[in-house]
């Protein structure tokens, strides 16, 4: 491992020497002229892909190309929620596989990703929502995924600060709730750093400030290499994991995608004493809330609703989310927002991701993560590595192909139809 294996002993030794001898966790190598494969995008997904390629598939002569710095895109712009509460079979099995990888991730990487399985609770506010949610949580149980039903009173005991709205203080009072106890949160930066350190120690070159500017293809159309801001790199295989900018990068290979880029915002308040030890989300009021280890109240909402790459977000959504959150958690009404940010989401036309081959031989795509990319990080890297190494998908990602849109084989979890902003 980069900087040696972290342990109680290494901590004690470094403490006794005044913490002056810690080694860098990753190298900063110069690009080689040729790699067996390159991964474009140094976020969680790309770094996880490189790690599993090296660890499970024996591909050591590979590189991760990152335009900026590792973990500087959507990996650092999410609300860190991890769950696998899906209805449809391909989603259920894929996200459950990812959740199982999360459960062993800190030990596997020898790096604490601070994965905290504190329960993800969804509240239900209308009879229709109750029925749809019950159906989904029953489907989870049939798939062997943990799922619990909570009456409103049980929810109140579990989350004492929640307002059920029975006194008329909510337009849509809480009728009941469901919980996935194994769901929770993780430290988002640590996921990127842990995978980067793990990949680096297996010989993967992580090349930061290395922007891909074009693809070189042979007369047969197959990939031959990539042009970058740090020079040309010859490679027969390139995996694109740049969600948010997938369309932008794939356009360099003349590939259009069933994707629109939309903004998703999140905000944190000033820090307060612990009062919320679970993640609560609501589809009806459209927000999710948790409290970070630092004490900040962390909130996210729905999409801004129109194509954007701005990474900023606009005011109406902040108002909407804040109104709903104060209704359900009146005790946060006097907190001040401290920070606000927005991530650029690859919104696919069916709300499910794409992990697979493309029409260009040697070019692979991992994108379209909508707003569910963070929790998928380990599973995405695991499946994408398999797909690149074997030139065909694993059965866990076999349904998430790019060509499913032309085969009427869409995976529309919400049944919302072909509208990117509706998922």
């Amino acid at each position: 491992m980069g900087g040696g294996r972290y342990s109680f002993l290494s901590l004690a030794k470094n403490a006794l020497s005044g913490h002056k001898n810690w080694q860098p966790a990753i190298r900063h190598p110069e690009p080689k002229a040729r790699y067996d494969a390159v991964i474009i995008g140094g976020g969680g997904h790309g770094l996880a892909t490189a790690y599993y390629l090296a660890k499970l598939h024996g591909m050591k002569n590979i590189a991760v190309l990152e335009r900026g710095w590792i973990g500087g895109g959507n990996t650092g712009r999410n609300t860190t929620i991890v769950r696998s509460n899906y209805l449809l079979e391909p989603n259920a099995h894929f996200y459950e596989h990812s959740l199982k990888l999360w459960e062993g991730l800190s030990a596997d990487l020898n790096f604490n990703v601070m994965f905290s399985q504190r329960s993800v609770i969804n509240t239900c506010h209308t009879p229709g929502e109750v029925e749809a949610t019950m159906r989904r949580y029953n489907a989870m149980r049939l798939n062997g995924i943990d799922a619990e039903f909570l009456s409103a009173d049980e929810l109140k005991r579990r989350v004492p600060d929640i307002n059920l709205g029975r006194d008329g203080s909510m337009r849509w009072p809480i009728m009941c709730a469901v919980s996935q106890p194994r769901g929770g949160v993780a430290r988002h930066d640590a996921v990127a750093w842990g995978y980067a350190r793990g990949a680096d120690s297996l010989g993967v070159d992580i090349l930061q400030n290395c922007e891909v500017t074009g693809f070189k293809r042979g007369s047969d159309g197959a990939l031959q290499g990539v042009e970058t801001s740090r020079g040309y790199i010859e490679t027969p295989k390139a995996g694109v994991a740049v969600a948010g900018h997938s369309g932008h990068v794939m356009a360099m290979a003349d590939i259009r995608l069933p994707i629109e880029s939309h903004l998703l915002q999140a905000f944190v308040s000033e820090p307060v004493k612990p009062f919320l030890d679970v993640v609560v989300s609501t589809g009806a009021l459209h927000f999710y809330i948790s409290q970070t280890d630092k004490g900040e109240v962390l909130l996210g909402g729905g999409l801004d609703g129109y194509n954007s790459y701005s990474q900023r977000g606009t005011i109406p959504n902040i108002e909407e989310v804040t109104e709903a959150a104060v209704e359900m958690f009146p005790n946060i009404s006097r907190l001040k927002w401290m920070r606000q940010w927005a991530g650029v989401m690859d919104m696919t036309m069916d709300g499910s991701p794409i992990i697979g081959k493309t029409p260009v031989q040697g070019l692979y795509l991992d994108g379209g993560w909508c707003y569910g990319g963070f929790k998928a990080t380990p599973g995405s890297g695991w499946c994408f590595a398999h797909t690149i190494a074997h030139d065909e998908p694993h059965e866990l990602n076999a349904a998430f192909t790019l060509d499913r849109f032309g085969r009427s084989a869409v995976i529309d979890e919400k049944g919302a139809g072909p509208y990117a902003k509706a998922h």
């Binding site: 369309g247 880029s261 954007s308 606009t314 109406p316």
Partner: protein
């Protein structure tokens, strides 16, 4: 908050409008091959920069508008009635 200059109502906040997506998408002939329909229903250019898009002034004059907007800066260029574009 974006202000969209509606040609009928004047500059109005984005909350009065409903987004209608890419304005360059054209509905194919009913007899067109499946590939063209797939392209129409699912595939988009999704540019980083200038974007021609549809907005409905739902809480105003109820006109469909064709708006040129930059997807990075959100700066709005020309706005016209969609019905005048012959689409």
């Amino acid at each position: 908050m974006m202000l969209i200059p509606c040609p009928h109502c004047g500059p109005r906040p984005e909350t009065e409008f409903v987004y209608g997506g890419d304005a360059n998408v054209k509905r194919p002939d009913p007899a067109a091959p499946d590939a063209e329909w797939t392209d129409y229903i699912y595939f988009r250019d999704n540019p980083k920069g200038a974007h021609r898009e549809l907005w409905l002034h739902a809480a105003g004059c109820h006109s469909w508008l064709t708006v040129e907007r930059d997807t990075v800066t959100h700066a709005i260029g020309s706005v016209s009635y969609t019905k005048d574009s012959g689409e």
